[in-house]
């Protein structure tokens, strides 16, 4: 039960709109955590604060022995230069709702970009490892295709391989299946299920309650920028304490 991620008092506002109202969250290694909640409750913003795609206005995120974006100096958090922040960010793999593949790179090019440019691997090494990952997500045959030639499900599998190529400590998923046609959702959930089985630590924002029930070790429900439930899937999903969580779940489970 080693701690992998610890979010402490995360607050975030856009203008005068307070989206996150001081969130705390612990994630241990090997754990699969699903974040559920109504649209606009701040799930994406929270995930993006965890890897500093958005800078929180208050609070901080500790990842594997270091605070994201800061260093502790004389009792205060001193902001890090961008290069060191990027190095920290590369420890958290991110999978986006809209894939965000590099349009001018092949499938293989997408996967080797990070290892080559950031980790300084040789092209041969990066390609050999990338092919292994593409194999794992069933995309090896498409290695020399361009993103525009792939289906949504295929793009998302490549995006997962690209994130895995950095050998991140934790994988973050922001609604990885929401932009997909229903018949393609299964192939992505299957890849994620395999990752979970292999012991990958994952934080998954999702609307797939079935996936949460089956795969998650723990489920968090966010409402209006607050964590209202945090516990085992069967307890949170079947028997939530919070009345607003009960209304939310009854709507999505209906």
């Amino acid at each position: 039960m080693t701690l992998a991620v610890k979010a402490v008092g995360i607050r975030k506002s856009f203008g005068s709109h307070e989206v996150l109202k001081g969130l705390d969250l612990d994630v241990t290694y090997g754990e699969v955590l699903c974040i559920l909640g109504p649209s606009g409750s701040g799930k994406s913003t929270f995930l993006r604060c965890i890897n500093h795609l958005e800078t929180p206005n208050g609070g901080y995120v500790w990842v594997d022995g270091a605070i994201m974006g800061y260093e502790l100096a004389r009792g205060a958090l001193q902001e890090l230069p961008v290069k060191r922040l990027r190095a920290q960010q590369s420890q958290l793999g991110m999978v986006f709702q809209h894939f965000n593949l590099f349009a001018h790179r092949t499938v293989l090019g997408n996967v080797i970009e990070g290892p080559m440019v950031v980790r300084g691997l040789s092209r041969a090494d990066a390609e050999a490892r990338a092919m292994g990952l593409l194999e794992q997500v069933g995309m090896a045959a498409k290695a020399s295709s361009y993103p525009s030639q792939l289906s949504g499900g295929q793009k998302q599998r490549v995006a997962i391989a690209r994130a895995l190529a950095m050998e991140p400590r934790v994988m973050l998923f922001d609604e990885p299946t929401s932009a997909l046609d229903p018949e393609l959702v299964g192939e992505i959930l299957e890849v994620m299920r395999n990752l979970a089985r292999g012991g990958t630590t994952m934080i998954v924002v999702t609307h797939e309650i079935g996936f949460a029930r089956e795969v998650a070790d723990r489920v968090v429900v966010m409402i209006d920028g607050e964590i209202r439930e945090n516990g085992a899937p069967q307890q949170v999903l079947s028997n939530p304490d919070d009345p607003r969580v009960r209304t939310f779940l009854s709507r999505v489970l209906a």
């Binding site: 986006f96 965000n100 092919m131 020399s144 525009s148």
Partner: protein, 307 residues
Amino acid sequence: MQSTSNPISTLSLADLPGPDVAIRRLKHPGRWISGGLVILLIAVIGRAFAVGQIQWTVVGEFLTAGVIITGFGWTLLISACALVLGVLLGFAFGIMRLSENPILRFAAWLYVWVFRGTPVLLQLLIWFNIALVFPKLYIPGLIDARMVDVVTPFVAAVLGLGVNEGSYLTEVVRGGIGSVDKGQKEAAHTLGMTPGQTMRRIILPQTLRLILPVLGNSAIGMLKFSSLAATIAMGEMLNAAQRIYFINGAVIELLFVCAVWYLAGTTVLSIGQYYLERHFGRDAATTTTERRWFKGWARRPAVTGEA
């Protein structure tokens, strides 16, 4: 009387012709007439030039005259240098235009405002006379010279045309960068790529593909605008032609000589632009082989797909 208003219903199956029936196409007399008129017009204009006060032998004579060829060489050199300068400035200021730093953003805006907002001929004249503002060019340990010696007509021409072109390209580059979707930038950040790496490896290559067709236009425009340098005593082709016809009086002949060379130059560039657009103008859905041509360095993967 048989109805002619609805011939389909009156044609019985028994009357249908065989499959090899002859087909007579509709005639287009209007096209022939209008085409004939245009040809006539061209002929009349052509004749006017042929019999007018133009000594075609003089045109032929000066077409390959050493002074004209040298002038055309200068024209090409000015255009090429100014285009390179314009592209460099366009990228530099285009990136600055999107900087986080408000001062840099403002500087880039100011650049575009000034140089896109004033006539390029005026700018050429100002560059040519820049010594009146800055009599000396002094950079400690690097340069210490009189401005008139530094800003020769050639330098003034390249600066004037290049800096002006750069102000247009700044906007083009800004648009190109803005059209690369923001998600790719975020993806690069989550992989740990620095802002510089993201710009160089993810954003700019896609921007370049978008703006290459525009660069074709710039090159053609630059070739023609370089003739403005004639006004600042730069010995490019038009200036050379002028110096000749001041002496021999063959004004229209020498201007025609220039026209022939400019047309030749822009034709070559247009052909080049056609091929550029064929390869880069399309969206990302180009096939693998075509994109390989663009990325000469994109080698085949060392490990190919097993499946």
